[in-house]
């Protein structure tokens, strides 16, 4: 079962929920931190990362000896990433999506490809024996999606019973890439107008992908009841409510997980997993 923890608005507690869910989910769990721009789960789960893989996209490399400057590569490129100026074929790496179209159409077979490294994938095991993987995008790189795509494919030799993916905030293409292929999406929000607005954006994605979802309302009590009303109207089950408590915020700030700071939540998260399992089965 693949569970994605997503949110829309940033800072609502995705990593808080995802890590505590993982720590109470039993033996065969793999945690995958897919927030490659701001990967934080390792700060809470402290895995020892012993496997590493550089990933990115394949950029075209033009062999000037074979190139006849016909310009077909430039015609097929949707991203204006390759162009012919006089007797010179130029590649603009920052525009290239690595689709391979130019390489495929070149009549002279003058284009080969090289890996343009955009980030790294890392994998290991936490102190509690949980499998852990994360992607880390290099600073200055614009595209998170290729890293997320490779991270999802970097599977374990033996698939875990439960995979928990921690998603980035927002509702654009990186979030879609994380959610694709999931069995369930857990939406973490806060009861404020910002939380509600951004929750609706992610619900737009899960409705299009037709993936079952449930909501966690974090910091209950800080705002209003509009999120509850929306969830009822949109037929989204609210699976968990966590009150605003300063001691939770303080513990998480210092690098503790919620279930470490408040052990009474262990049973709450086990129930949450049972509820998710039931929703997926239905």
């Amino acid at each position: 079962m693949r569970i994605v923890v997503a949110s829309g608005k940033g800072g609502t507690g995705k990593t808080t929920i995802a890590t505590s869910l993982a720590l109470t989910a039993g033996e065969s769990v793999c945690f995958v931190d897919c927030d490659v721009e701001a990967p934080n789960a390792a700060l809470f789960l402290n895995p020892s990362l012993d496997k590493r893989k550089e990933v990115g996209i394949l950029l075209p490399v033009v062999d000037e000896a074979l190139c006849t400057y016909c310009g077909i590569c430039s015609e097929v490129c949707e991203f204006h990433a390759i162009t012919v100026i006089g007797e010179k074929t130029l590649v603009f790496p920052e525009l290239c999506h690595g689709c391979g179209s130019c390489t495929l159409v070149c009549p002279e077979k003058a284009i080969s490809e090289r890996l343009d490294v955009m980030g790294v994938l890392e994998r290991g095991v936490t102190a509690t024996g949980m499998d852990f993987a994360q992607g880390v995008m290099h600073v200055g790189e614009p595209m998170a999606v290729p890293i997320i795509r490779e991270l999802k494919k970097w599977t374990l030799p033996k698939p875990p019973a439960i995979e928990i993916r921690d998603a980035p905030p927002g509702a654009s293409c990186p979030v879609v890439e994380v959610i694709r292929g999931a069995d369930f999406v857990l939406l973490v929000t806060e009861p404020t107008p910002f939380g509600l607005h951004d929750l609706k954006q992610v619900v737009g994605i899960i409705r299009e992908l037709k993936i079952p979802a449930g909501v966690v309302i974090n910091r209950e009590g800080i705002g209003d009841k509009a999120v509850e009303t929306y969830c009822a109207e949109a037929d989204l089950p609210v699976l968990l409510r966590i009150p605003m408590e300063r001691r939770f915020a303080e513990a998480i700030a210092s690098g503790k997980t919620l279930v470490e700071a408040a052990p009474e939540y262990r049973s709450v998260f086990r129930t949450l997993l049972e509820d998710i399992t039931a929703e997926v089965a239905a």
Binding site: G10, S172, A253
Partner: protein, 301 residues
């Protein structure tokens, strides 16, 4: 004319709260009528929830194209699936179909299809808006990237170009850009060409980690930065770490904002916190940060 971009790395640290308060404070002082606002967080655009804008103009934002297979002429050879690097072509019941959400719009399949059955179709990926904010805070450029769409960087660039053009044409002195979280393409589009970045950091292990990554990103694009610390008293040791890190890196810390539930109440009321309750601890702190940041911005290159 100067451009200030508000960033954070980690989401939910308070970028929009600070932006809205700055808009309110600027309207009270010497910058009345001299400020333009831009919301560059296009897939989670929240500034409008506080600035209550009056819409003046809207237009469709055309994002990337998406491939479509004409099933009548398709011979189901599977060449398209073989060349697609985005896992966007599915083989279902002997038919090849495009997953429009996964499609990157590269058109590689179009050129490989022997039956010429695949064509590219432009799609509307979002809406661009130009508005007047309530309370005379100034013109607001904002947008709504439809759920799951790409090209957020392009939409941010459009917003910033339009804001800049109006600022130059009509002698505005300042643009404040409410940035997105993370460090990827929309952040790069939000920071490029800005005069100063204000990083809203959070004194949490995650917040410190992400602040360092966004500071590296800002430096990579040649923009100077200052840092303020939100919810600073939640974990004072973390706040001290941030200040120490900034001092070592030659980055000025312009203030600390205490954890204050007035901020959430102002959000529910749809007001800038400094307008909602000027004497709240958070409002006083943000006002001090504004007074410190403004001269640095005006001096910046």
């Amino acid at each position: 004319m100067k451009q200030l971009v508000i960033l954070s790395g980690k989401g939910g640290t308070g970028k929009t709260i600070v932006t809205a308060a700055f808009a309110h404070l600027a309207a009270q002082g010497q910058l009345t009528g001299k400020l333009i606002l831009a919301d560059a967080d296009v897939d989670a655009a929240n500034l409008e929830l506080v600035l209550k804008p009056h819409l003046l103009e809207q237009q469709d934002f055309r994002g990337g194209k998406v491939a479509q297979i004409d099933q009548d002429s398709c011979s189901s050879c599977g060449d398209c699936e073989a060349v697609c690097r985005f896992d966007a072509i599915n083989h279902v019941d002997d038919l090849y179909v495009i997953d429009p959400i996964a499609c990157d719009g590269c058109a590689a399949c179009v050129y490989q299809c022997p039956d010429e059955s695949i064509s590219m179709h432009e799609q509307v990926a979002g809406k661009f808006y130009f508005s007047e904010s309530a309370h005379d805070y100034g013109p607001l450029y904002h947008a709504n990237l439809f759920p799951g769409k790409d090209n957020s960087g392009k939409l941010v660039t459009l917003i910033r170009q339009r804001a800049r053009r109006q600022a130059l044409d009509e002698n505005y002195e300042l643009i404040i850009v409410d940035g997105p979280p993370g460090i990827g393409c929309p952040v790069i589009s939000a920071v490029t060409g800005a005069n100063l970045a204000l990083i809203v950091a959070e004194p949490t292990v995650a917040g410190v980690h992400d602040m360092q990554r966004v500071l590296q990103t800002v430096r990579h694009f040649g923009v100077g930065a200052v840092v303020c610390i939100n919810k600073a008293d939640i974990y004072p040791a973390g706040a001290d770490d941030i200040e120490a890190f900034c001092q070592e890196s030659g980055i000025e810390t312009v203030g600390r904002i205490p954890f204050d539930l007035t901020v959430s109440r102002a959000m529910v009321a749809g007001e800038a916190v400094t307008a909602f309750h000027p004497q709240a601890a958070s409002s006083i702190a943000i006002a001090k940060i504004w007074e410190k940041t403004l001269p640095l911005l005006l001096e910046s290159k």
